[in-house]
Every structure is written in C-alpha cells, then in structure tokens.
C-alpha cells in the first residue's frame, strides 16, 4: 500500500523527451481505450497535444512505478487521471505522479465515496466527479490550463 505522505520529489530517470509538440500538453490516464480516445479527441479539438496511457491496466509495467519514470507525465502540463481509485495499483500511480511531478497539474476523476487515504492523496489536485463526460473533462482541463493559444494552424 503506498504511503500517502508525500516526500520530496525523486529525480526521475527518463527516456528521451517524447512530446514533439510545444502546445499545452495533456496526458490522459484512462483504462478504457475508447473513452481515453474520446477525451483525447475533445482535447485535440480544443488545441491541446495529447497522450493517452492505459495506466497499470495495460500491457507491460507502468514506468511510473519503476525507477525509469514516465517521460510523457514528466513533461505534461496537465495530467488527467481516470484510473478508478478503488484499485491499489491506480492509487500507486496517483501517488507516484504527485511525488515525482509535484508541479504538474492533476485533474482526477474521483468516485462518489472517498476514503481517508484517497482524500489525502487528492489534496491539492483538481477533481471532477465520476462519471465525467469527455466534454466535462475538456472544460475542466481548459479552466486548469487556461485557454491554449489558437496557434495550432500556424505551428503544424
């Protein structure tokens, strides 16, 4: 069980920077591929570069929970966490995100009932109640990150 006490950030070891785009960048952590893509589509049309990760439900081991760290999370402006926090692995990811990247804005889709441990993990995070529609998440990200400049056409 991860400790909810946040220690100073560890210096992450990273693969080369994966983001190719200088636009505001949003990493979406969602176990459902279709739902993650729907949120990504909304965010792309709102002017954000996106990354979609299945979290610890997906293939392989989540690099966030290992020594190598997660480059997409490291360089994201906002991370949207919709992993379902009844599972220990999902809480571990949230814990690592907060510990390693304390300055990255986190938007967490939270369940209706929140236990004490999750409450402590969520301190300082932006939250949106589950289930949130892609539109709600896009709006929330917009308000957290500020409106991205409409320069996409020129930058592409």
């Amino acid at each position: 069980m991860p400790s909810t006490e946040l220690s100073p950030a560890k210096s992450p070891k990273l693969e080369p920077q994966p983001w190719r785009w200088t636009h505001p960048r949003v990493l979406i952590e969602h176990p459902d591929e279709a739902a993650g893509l729907a949120i990504a589509s909304g965010l792309r049309y709102a002017g954000f570069a996106v990354g979609v990760c299945p979290g610890p439900h997906g293939l392989g081991q989540c690099p966030l929970t290992g020594p190598e760290g997660c480059a997409p999370a490291h360089d994201a402006d906002v991370v949207v966490c919709s992993l379902g926090y009844e599972r220990e692995a999902a809480r571990e990811v949230l814990h690592e995100l907060r510990q390693r990247y304390p300055h990255t804005k986190l938007l967490v889709e939270v369940p209706n009932t929140i236990d004490t441990e999750l409450q402590e993990l969520l301190e300082g995070c932006h939250v949106v109640p589950a289930p949130a529609s892609p539109e709600q998440i896009v709006e929330a990200v917009r308000s957290i990150a500020g409106e991205p400049a409409q320069e996409a056409e020129n930058d592409a």
């Binding site: 190719r20 893509l37 990504a40 049309y45 954000f48 570069a49 979609v52 299945p54 293939l59």
Partner: protein, 395 residues
C-alpha cells in the same frame, strides 16, 4: 536494442556483468589449459546469448506499454482530416468508394499515403526508381478514380511505413487514420500488423480495412487485432528462436572444428616426435655407462592429495658430460610420453612398449625435464611423477 548506458545504474550494472564475464575467461587463460579456456568462453558466450535471446523473445511477446500521442487538431472545429495508408489495395473498389464517400463531405480532407516497400536488394541494384514510378502511377490512377482533387491528395514514400505515418502527423496532422491491407502480408504489400502498431502509437481513431481475394472489404475488430498481434508476436518469437538455435549450432560446429584442428595438430606433432624418436633409437653404439631400466606407469603413484598419477619409476638421472647413458624404458601406457629437458637439448620420445634410448648431455649442470605429451596435467608439473632432474657431471 536498448542501450546499456541509458542511465548510470544501467551502465554500472553492465560494467559489473562485463567484469563477471571476463574474470573466468582471464583466470582460465592464465591458469588453465587451452580446452578449459574454450569451455569457459563457450559457457560465457552461451550465457550472454541465452539472456539476450530471452529478453528479445519477451519483447516480441510482451511489448512495452506505449503511450499514444497526437498533436492538436488544426483547422476549424468542423474540419476533419483523414490519412489513408495503402499500397497494394489502392485499386480495390471498396476502398475507393469509401474514400469517395468521405471526400464528398466538404469538411473532410484526405491524404493518401502509399508506402513503396523497397527491398534492400532493390536499393542496392538501383531498382528504386522503377518501383517508385510504379507506385506513383498506381496512386495517380486511384486519385483519378476518387475525384474531388481539391480535397484528396496523395504521397509516395519509400521510408518505413510507420516513420512515414509519423511524418504525416507532423505535416498533415490527421484526425483519423485508415490502414488498408490484405489479411496476409504479400510481397510489396503492407503488413496487416501495421494497423495495430499505428493504433498503439497515435491517439486518434484508427480503422483497419482488410481485403481478402474475392471478398468485400472488412473492418477488423479489436479482438481480432489483439489476436493477430499475439499470433504475429509468437511467430516472430518462434522464428527468432529457430534462428538462435541455428546460430548456436553453427557456433558449436565452429568450436568443435577448432578443437578438432588443435587435436589434429597435436597428433601431427606427436607423430613427428615419434619418428624423431625412432631415428634416435638408431644411434650408433658408443662407449656407454651402465643401462638404467625404468618404467612408465599410468596412475602408478599416489600423490600427496591421495589421487593416483602417471609416473616414470625413475625421475633422477645422473650422467657424465659427453658420455651416452642408455635408458631401457618400458612404457606400459598406450600412448607416447617424453623426457624433455629444453635447457639441456634433450627430447626423448618414449614409445609404448620396451625400447632403449640414449641420453647424452654436452654441458654440465642440473636440468629439469618433464613429459610434453598431454597426459596427467598434475604429474607433468611435479618432479617424481612425470617430471624430474638430469644432472650432468664433468667426465
């Protein structure tokens, strides 16, 4: 392949492994016989190869978690950009009608990417221009059939299809990708696995249009894609495993051939030495001292550690300078041995059976002798067994 120097820890681990692999080789080289060096080398290389193969097969079967990515949409919110990746299926009616249907929507822009898969042989023989021209002609024909020239554009690429698609994400910035392939990979055709790779890498919807000869196009579902990916991974792993086995067999054959060559060379030396010994036995009789009789007995004498070792029953000889000493030696072994004293210029090859040899020294002194034939390794280095001293005194 991942670099072992990606981080300080990994570089340190790599260095430790390197040292751990080199130490036994060096120890065997310094202290052991040649065959031990070969065995240690084979074991170390084998262990490295097995580990590398296991990691590679694991990667093929269980790909690392991939974060899909995509740049922001460009254009107005109503615009939609579709990237179509196809080459051999560009003449399929079902694909062309689907593109025509999409292009009829004024807010849709289509880019057709036709990867020309050019083999290394074609690149080396200069056949690349012909293949590109052929691909270009096929693309032009398809674009002509689709129409809507303002909304539909095309591009030929001779790069790896996945890299070409990445480039399109930087320039065309699609909102959707359609990958069109046949069920089975054919020569010059796109790998059906490509759709899954695109889906793993890019955060946009990816459709896979699959064509079977004589049948309509079908859109494969996710389960089929996953199964296909798994089967393709298993096939690749099996193919790699087979290649690894063949590689090991070739390596083993090389090692065995080398060992056989070394043995053959040693036998040749023994034969030459035996011939020299036969000639030596024909020496002219001269004034000699009394004959010394001795035996060579395999495992005839117990060593200090309790093991039995090969022995010459007499290992200390005293002769007069310039005066031949006859040695009547009964070699009870089945292979030759020798009394070799390099410092005294003595090399008597002792053949199996009872023979008489002449021991002649020209300089006074005490000389170490030993058996040079591969027999009892320990005994060859211990005086009193297959080694000893010859003392030559002035006459």
């Amino acid at each position: 392949m991942r670099s072992p120097f990606s981080s300080e820890t990994e570089a340190f681990r790599f260095l430790l492994l390197l040292v751990a692999a080199v130490i036994p080789i060096v120890l065997a080289t310094v202290f052991g016989p040649t065959w031990l060096v070969v065995v240690v080398l084979v074991l170390v290389l084998g262990a490295v190869a097995v580990r590398a193969a296991a990691l590679h097969m694991q990667r093929l079967r269980d790909p690392a978690m991939q974060v899909k990515m995509a740049p922001p949409h460009i254009g107005s919110p109503s615009d939609r950009r579709v990237l179509v990746v196809a080459n051999q299926t560009l003449d399929e009616d079902a694909l062309l009608s689907e593109l025509e249907r999409l292009a009829s929507n004024p807010s849709v822009r289509i880019r057709v990417l036709a990867p020309a898969l050019i083999s290394p042989a074609a690149r080396m023989t200069g056949g690349i221009d012909g293949l590109l021209a052929e691909a270009r002609a096929k693309l032009q024909t398809a674009l002509g059939r689709i129409g809507h020239s303002r909304a539909v554009s095309g591009e030929i690429s001779d790069a790896d299809p996945l890299h070409a698609i990445e480039d399109e994400f930087a320039t065309f910035v699609p909102d959707e990708v359609i990958v069109s392939t046949r069920w089975e990979r054919t020569e010059g055709g796109l790998d059906p696995l490509l759709a899954g790779l695109v889906r793993e890498r890019f955060a946009v919807p990816v459709r896979h249009l699959v064509f079977e000869p004589g049948a309509d196009a079908r859109e494969s579902d996710r389960e089929t894609e996953v199964r296909y990916r798994r089967e393709a991974g298993d096939t690749a792993a099996r193919r790699f495993g087979l290649s690894a086995v063949v590689g090991v067999a070739v390596l083993a054959a090389l090692v065995l051939s080398t060992a056989a060559l070394i043995r053959s060379s040693e036998h040749s030396e023994q034969r030459s030495a035996a011939e020299a010994a036969a000639n030596q036995r024909l020496v002219e009789p001269g004034p000699v001292a009394n004959v010394v009789a001795l035996k060579v007995i395999p495992e005839g004498k117990r060593g200090p550690e309790g093991e039995k070792h090969d022995e010459f029953t007499t290992t200390e000889f005293t002769v007069k300078v310039g005066q031949p000493q006859l040695l009547k030696i009964d070699n009870t072994d089945t292979v030759p041995h020798s009394i070799t004293a390099p410092g005294a210029g003595v090399n008597i090859v002792v053949m199996p059976g009872v023979h008489t040899y002449k021991l002649l020294l020209q300089r006074a002194g005490t000389y170490l002798w030993f058996c040079t034939f591969v027999c009892d390794e320990w005994a060859m280095h211990h005086p009193g067994y297959m080694s000893g001293y010859i003392t030559a005194v002035a006459s």
